[in-house]
Symmetry: C2
Subunit: 480 residues, 2 copies
C-alpha cells in the first residue's frame, strides 16, 4: 500500500531550505500558528498536547525532588522590577507596560512579567523570618512576555509558555546543590523523555542570566548544525535576595542571608524536538512525548469484520494503557498513512482482512519505516517493546549525530574553515574576554561560546583569537 504523496509535497526538504522546512512542519502538523497579536502564537491542540506531555513528565520529576507548585501574579510594579540593578538592565528594554486599568490611568506602571524573580523575592521578604521557614522550593507553570523584535514559532515569540522554579536556602552550598540538581532533572528529561542529547555546562560571564552569579545551560544540536539553548538553571548567591531584604534568623538567633536559585524550561523545547527528530515527511516524535502513541488504520475497512476487529484492538490497547487512536474515516489508507506521518504519531498499526485471517497486524515505525508483523495475541505487550526500542533508537541516532558534529579548533583559521564546511559545535580555548568572543563571532558569521567545558583537559593554552593565555575551553557554535 503506497503512501499518498499529495499531502507531504507541502513540506520543503530540510536539506534544501531548513528554515522553510521548519515552518512547513509546524504548519502541516498543525502545532501552532500566528495570532492577530504581533509576535504571539496560538498553540493549537496538536502542539499544546505535546506541551502537556512534557509538563506531566517534568512536573513529576520536580515533585520527586520536593518542588511545590504555586502561582504568582502576571503583573509586576515598576518599582519592584527595579530593585536589582542587573535584572532591570537586562529586562527593561523588553517588557510590555500596563498603564491603564479600566478607565483610570495607573499611578505606577505595571509590566507583564518577563520572569518572576522579583515577585518571589518580594513575597519571601514579607514571609520568611526563621530557619524554620527554609528552604522554599517553588515552581510555577505560566506564560511570560518579552517584547522581541523577530519571532519564530516555538523558538522565539513575545509570549511563551514555560515553568519557572524559584528557591531560597539557608546556605550557599544547599542553593548551589539545588541549582545543579535541577540542571540534572532537565538533563534526565531531555535524555530519557525527549530523546535529545546535548552538551551542558556553565555559561560564560557575559552570557549569564541578568542578576545571576552562575548560569548552567543545556545546549542541544539541531539538524542544521545550530545549537539551541534548551533549558537553564541559575545560581544567584545572596545578591538578589539581599537586594530585596530577605533575611532569616538562624538557630543561634543571628540574622543571615538566604541563597537563591531559579530554573526554567519553555515551549522552545518543542522547537528542539522538531529540529532534532523530524524529517521531510513531517513531525517525528519520541514515543514518550507523543500524545498519541499509535494510530490504527484499517485496510479495506468496508469488508466484513475489519472495522469491528480494529475497534476491538483499540479497546484492548487502550485497556493496556496505550494512547491509541483509530482512523476509520472514508479517506484512503495511503492518505491516512501520510497524515499519521505528518502528525508524527510514532507507530501505526495496519489491520486488514488478510491480517485478521492470519491473526496478525503490521506495525510500522514512524522514525525508520520498519514494518513489524506482530501476532494479535501478543500485540498488547509487543507494542510497548517496539515503542521503547524506537525511543532508544531515536536517542542513539541523535547522539551519533551530535558526537560526529563536535570538532576541535586551535586557531581562528581552523575555526572559520570548520564553520564554513561543517555544521556543529567546536571545542576551542579562550581568554575569557568578551571582545575576543565578539571577533570570533564576526569572523565565523555568528559562532559564540555556548557553554564552558570544565571537566576535560584544555586542547590549547592560548586564546583562539588573541593568543594570550586561555582561561577556558568552551563549545562554540551558531545558535537560535
Amino acid at each position: 500500500m503506497a503512501k499518498d504523496k499529495k499531502m507531504v509535497k507541502a513540506i520543503t526538504s530540510r536539506d534544501v531550505d531548513f528554515a522553510q522546512w521548519y515552518t512547513d512542519v509546524v504548519r502541516e502538523a498543525k502545532l501552532c500558528d500566528y495570532s492577530s497579536v504581533k509576535g504571539c502564537l496560538n498553540y493549537l491542540p496538536n502542539g499544546y498536547a505535546i506541551w502537556e506531555m512534557i509538563q506531566a513528565d517534568l512536573d513529576r520529576r520536580f515533585k520527586e525532588t520536593g518542588v511545590e507548585n504555586v502561582y504568582l501574579p502576571t503583573l509586576i510594579p515598576e518599582s519592584l522590577l527595579q530593585k536589582e540593578a542587573d535584572h532591570i538592565d537586562g529586562f527593561a528594554p523588553e517588557v510590555a507596560w500596563v498603564t491603564h486599568g479600566g478607565m483610570e490611568r495607573l499611578q505606577e506602571r505595571l509590566c507583564i512579567r518577563p520572569t518572576s524573580e522579583t515577585l518571589f523575592c518580594d513575597l519571601w521578604a514579607r514571609t520568611v523570618q526563621s530557619y524554620r521557614d527554609l528552604p522554599k522550593v517553588w515552581n510555577q507553570w505560566n506564560s511570560v512576555l518579552r517584547w522581541e523584535k523577530t519571532t519564530r514559532p516555538f523558538l522565539r515569540s513575545r509570549e511563551f509558555l514555560w515553568q519557572e522554579g524559584h528557591t531560597i536556602h539557608a546556605t550557599y552550598e544547599e542553593a548551589e546543590e539545588r541549582t545543579l540538581q535541577m540542571l540534572k532533572v532537565y538533563q534526565d528529561c531531555y535524555r530519557e523523555t525527549m530523546a535529545i542529547p546535548f552538551v551542558s555546562g556553565r555559561k560564560a560571564e557575559h552570557e549569564k542570566f541578568a542578576g545571576a552569579q552562575d548560569t548552567y545551560t543545556i545546549e542541544a544540536l539541531m539538524y542544521d548544525g545550530k545549537a539551541l539553548q534548551s533549558a537553564t538553571s541559575h545560581f544567584f548567591g545572596s545578591g538578589f535576595p539581599d537586594a530585596f531584604g530577605i533575611k532569616y534568623v538562624d538557630k543561634n538567633n543571628e540574622l543571615q542571608s538566604v541563597y537563591e536559585t531559579s530554573w526554567g524550561w519553555s515551549t522552545r523545547s518543542i522547537g528542539g524536538l522538531i529540529m532534532v527528530h523530524s524529517d521531510d515527511d513531517g513531525l517525528v516524535l519520541p514515543p514518550r512525548v507523543a500524545p498519541t502513541e499509535v494510530m490504527i488504520i484499517p485496510i479495506a475497512q468496508h469488508k466484513e469484520g475489519v472495522l469491528d476487529r480494529a475497534y476491538d484492538l483499540m479497546a484492548e490497547l487502550k485497556k493496556a494503557g496505550y494512547r491509541v487512536k483509530i482512523d476509520a474515516s472514508e479517506k484512503s489508507p495511503g492518505w491516512k498513512f501520510s497524515e499519521q506521518e505528518i502528525l508524527g504519531i510514532p507507530t501505526r498499526i495496519e489491520i486488514g482482512p488478510k491480517d485478521i485471517e492470519n491473526n496478525q497486524v503490521v506495525v510500522v515505525r514512524r522514525d525508520n519505516r520498519e514494518k513489524i508483523v506482530v501476532s494479535l495475541d501478543e500485540i498488547a505487550t509487543k507494542l510497548r517493546d517496539i515503542l521503547e526500542t524506537m525511543q532508544q533508537d531515536m536517542y542513539n541516532k541523535a547522539k551519533d549525530f551530535l558526537e560526529s558534529h563536535i570538532y576541535e579548533a586551535r586557531t581562528l583559521d581552523e575555526m572559520v574553515e570548520k564553520f564554513k564546511t561543517d555544521r556543529g559545535l567546536i571545542k576551542a580555548c579562550w581568554c575569557g574576554d568578551e571582545e575576543c568572543e565578539g571577533e570570533v563571532k564576526y569572523n565565523t558569521g555568528g559562532a559564540a561560546t555556548r557553554c564552558l567545558i570544565e571537566d576535560e583537559e584544555m586542547i590549547s593554552d592560548k586564546c583562539i583569537y588573541c593568543g594570550k593565555p586561555a582561561k577556558h575551553m568552551a563549545y562554540w557554535g551558531k545558535a537560535y
Copy 2:
C-alpha cells in the same frame, strides 16, 4: 490526647463573624495571600495544590467528552475586543491596557484578556472553511484579569485562574447540546468531587454573559446563606461568530453560520469549598480534592520501633495509591493534630506503642472527628472506605443544609421577612422586569435572582413586586 488549642485560637468563629472567619481560614491554612500588586493574589503551595486537584478532575471529564486543550495569547488588540458590541460594553470598563512594548509606544492598545471569546473567534474566522473543520471543541487553562474595585481571596481578585472552553458547531442544536453537556460536567464535578450541592438553571436576561444568548449557572449555598455563582456555561447562538465573519461551506456547498458556546470554572470554586465545608478549626476538604488524604502522626515517637512502623505504614499506603504524609517533627502530637485540622487533611492516623502492640491504628476523620480503630492488616483497604464514606457524608450534610435553607415567598413582605430572619434561597415569581428585581434587591438588602426555575410548577401567577402576571419563577438570594 488533647488537641493543642493555641494554634486554632487564631481563627474567629464562623457564627460570630463569617467574613473574618473566612479570611482567618485562608491565612491559617496558608492557601494564598495578597501580593504587592493591588488586587492580585499569590497562590501558595497549599492553595495551588487544591487547584491542581480540581484541574486534574475537570480536565479528565472534559477530555472524556472530546475537548482538546489549546493556548491563545494573553493580549487582545482593542479593535478585536470591539467587534461584538455587547461584549465590549460588558468588559471595557474592567480591562487593563498595555500601551508600551519595550521602549516604544504601541500603535494600538492591547488589553490583557478578561476572557477570550474574541481571540477564539478571530482564529476560527481565519481557519474554519468547511463542515469538515467542525466542530471545534477547545479549552484553555489560563489566567484572566478584570480590574475589580474590591477584592477577596479566591472570591474576587483582579487576576484569577480558570479554564475557559470555547466551541463552535455546524448547527444550533449541537451547540445548545454542548452548552448543556458542559453544564452537566460542572454539575457532576461539584456533586461527585467537590461534595457541593447546588441549584442550577438559566440566568435572567440581564444577568447573562456579555454577548450570550443564554447563560446557565451553578449556584451553591454558602454556610452564611449567601449564594456563590460557581460555574457558568454560555450559548451564543450565531451572533458572536457572525460578528467575526466565521462561516463554513456545508455539504451542499452553501455558506452557513456557526453556533458558539463558552464555559468557565475558576479558582473561585476554592472559595466555595471553604465556605461550604470548613469549620472553626480550619479547612475541611472533601477527600477527592485533598492534595493529602491522610497524615500519619506517630505517638510517643521516641519509643523504640514507633517511627519505623509509622514509616512502613506510609510506604504501604503510598504503594496502595494514597496521598499520604507523615509528621515526624519534634512538635507535640496535640500540636500536630491541630495543624492537620487547620490544613484540612481529611484523615489522620495515630500510631503509638499501644497501637503497634495491638496491631492497630486509630483513624480520625476531619469532618466529624469520628475515631475509628482499624487493624494494621486491613488499613490499606479500610482507609479507602473511610475516605469514601466521608466524601459522601460531607455531600449529604451540605445537601441537607441547602435543602433546609430553600424557602418560598409569595409577597414582598414575606420575602423581606425571610431574608431578615433566615439565610438561604427563596423561590419567588417574577414578571421578568429588571426594575422589579432592583426594587426587591433594595427592599431585601441585596437579594436578586440567582437562576430561573423552569422544571417546577410556579407557586404564584403574580410578580412578587409589581403584582403583574409572572413570567418566571426564580431562586432569589444574596450573593458573593
